[in-house]
Symmetry: C2
Subunit: 410 residues, 2 copies
């Protein structure tokens, strides 16, 4: 019998708790696992020994995690430095592992978390500890290497696509020239913006999609809009927050400086700044900038069923890999086919995943560099499928009571 | 047999098409109605004789309207002036009524639309035309007089409440001081912001709610936040877009001027401007401003079932009232009880509704003027109930093909 410790890290998603639920439910059932600890706020909770003992938690609250957005255990933005640089932190973690007799450690997160998994899995071997360290992938950004797509991405993409289909109906209801700018997350990888090609197929919008993978060119942007207006009164545009000029400057940043030198323009996001620019060029048009902000990563009510179930299963499989002694690995999924959609679970060395950002490949980007190809569409479509049944109380979502600081005995 | 003409006006909602569907489906079935016309873009479509003949439209597309957000016929922002001022417009409408042999006219909309209904219902009598004119209420703002609540409000309120419950989970996931500002629609009436008291009850947020009904005081606002921080690291705030100082200046406007004299601050909304202000006072806090923008009035995927069915029924009842010869009336609902929720349909003279904005009553606002009373909570709770089954195609919403310019014979 081993004790287990799990923590969550990085930006939350609609399904990071699904993975936690899958892992914890199976761990509590397993005859090979004794105590199941969760650390509040990622590695910070390990340093502080700030733990939740899941064995004490009512099973309903654990099950409700499956449909509760964000990180039930809380998260952190903390990347462990190298062992040589910050020996104390690693020693503290090893000490905590010993003190709580941890034999299984799981970290649910993105790139940085997989780096942590990688470092810790090597260190426990060096230190002669018997701890199996496994990573469970998570990120709405879909920028992890090796894995076909990351849990959290499909739900975020579904919300974006549904919201665009709905907002497009709003955009066309007045008989006037109109530009709608929707800004979605994605600093370096434009997966979420690219996924909006599904809405184009089924609703007619967006007309144009701009990704950080392509250097932004303001003149081309204006000319792209003119081409849309040549055919229609409405121009619907999706941009990644991370679009940037050829010199690397973010469009948001550069525009801010173009307006004034006092940083006031930081008040708005990239879409808001582009709106101001377009208002000068198209004074006759109604221009709207909509930032999907944290709504897109929190909107569990619009989660993809595929995504939720895969996240759950990646948690369960992660436990299985760990119990099989596969340390330094990440629970992973590989796509066998898009039509029909078919995947296979496996595990891969976390070293192949850590510290690498997967971006949208050229074959998914159209020749005009303002839209997505059929190959891209076929990649995205399966990931947004299915509706999740949300637990409700009096018509409101009944989320789990588990949150940072939750004490089941209180 | 009479011919029927219907148009939609004002800002769209998730359920304005539900009312249209209810009216049109029953009209097509009725033995008393012959042709069923829809005018594209409100009265503008009447001036231009830009009509859709619903008799030619496949019944599935009419049924799909029930779960399609925004105005399927398109909308306009056009308020008819008085007859003395703009005789030509009225004469044109009368001419169109005659030309198409219209005996029943319906206008779906808010305050201004009810004013149009009022004016037209009087004029047809003066002109000796046999046209029954009936209004169908609609507005997410919930600011119509007499009616207990307006179709569109409940769905918008549900989206706001669910999104807050979800974003709150996001807001609490990091172990740091944090302020979340959510801006919702409501220029003069704070009903939507007030409805967020439901999320407070079920999710723990928002902590503070600010309405246009109460003059905004920046010092009190800061002190309210300090009181929340005295008990918690997280402060979650909902504001109406229309909050204003005692002198009537909108908080957004005034803040813009406080920052610079060049109107740059118009880049952001009120929440964004308050964020900038709070960043000066709480440099140690993470501060997020989220504007729910047109998402809140488009999010049919999160529509309230109660709202959708009531909107549908108000359309159906409207037809019935008109066929009973009740001209100059608005299809209306009255609440008999909140627990259990019970309503009654009726019709009221549109003159009692037109040109009056109903605001949140004092008994719904707490003594501290930063939250909502139990009486308010009990008013709001029934309106957000139930989940609507959305028509889907390949995992995306299947909206009606009816939109401005739609030609069923093309």
């Amino acid at each position: 019998m081993k004790n287990l410790l799990v923590a969550q890290s990085g930006g939350p998603s609609s399904v990071i708790n699904s993975s936690l639920a899958g892992l914890v439910i199976d761990a509590l059932k397993s005859e090979k696992v004794d105590k199941v600890y969760g650390a509040f706020h990622g590695v910070e909770g390990i340093f502080k020994e700030n733990f939740l003992l899941f064995n004490d938690v009512p099973m309903d609250e654990i099950r409700y995690m499956k449909t509760t957005p964000s990180s039930a255990l809380g998260s952190c933005r903390y990347k462990l430095k190298d062992y040589d640089v910050n020996k104390d932190e690693y020693d503290k973690i090893m000490e905590v592992f010993k003190k709580y007799d941890i034999g299984l450690f799981f970290y649910i997160g993105g790139n940085d978390s997989m780096d942590t998994v990688n470092k810790l899995s090597k260190l426990v071997v060096e230190k002669g500890l018997d701890v199996t360290v496994v990573g469970i992938p998570k990120t709405i950004d879909n920028d992890l290497n090796v894995i076909d797509h990351t849990p959290g991405f499909g739900s975020c993409a579904k919300y974006i696509n549904w919201s665009i289909a709905e907002m497009y109906r709003d955009a066309i209801c007045y008989d006037k020239k109109q530009i709608t700018l929707v800004e979605v997350m994605g600093r370096n990888a434009g997966w979420l913006a690219a996924s909006a090609c599904v809405a184009t197929e089924y609703s007619g919008a967006p007309d144009l999609i701009y990704l950080p993978e392509i250097n932004f060119d303001m003149d081309k942007f204006k000319s792209d809009i003119d081409k849309v207006f040549a055919k229609s009164k409405k121009c619907f545009i999706v941009i990644s927050e991370g679009i940037h000029y050829a010199d690397g400057k973010y469009v948001g940043e550069s525009e801010a400086q173009a307006h004034d030198g006092f940083g006031h323009a930081k008040l708005g996001g990239t879409a808001t700044l582009l709106k101001a620019k377009l208002e000068e060029i198209h004074p006759d048009a109604k221009i709207q900038a909509i930032e999907l902000s944290i709504l897109q990563r929190s909107a569990q009510h619009c989660a993809s069923l595929i995504d939720t179930e895969e996240a759950f299963d990646l948690g369960r499989k992660g436990l299985q890999y760990a119990l099989d002694g596969k340390t330094g690995m990440m629970s992973c999924l590989i796509r066998k086919s898009s039509l029909p959609y078919e995947i296979e679970y496996t595990c891969v060395p976390v070293s192949e995943v850590a510290n690498f950002e997967k971006v949208v490949p050229p074959e998914y980007i159209n020749a005009e560099e303002n839209g997505i190809t059929r190959a891209g569409f076929e990649y995205f479509l399966p990931l947004i499928q299915g509706q999740v049944e949300v637990n409700k109380l009096d018509g409101m979502p009944r989320h789990t009571k588990i949150k940072p600081g939750y004490n089941p005995k209180a």
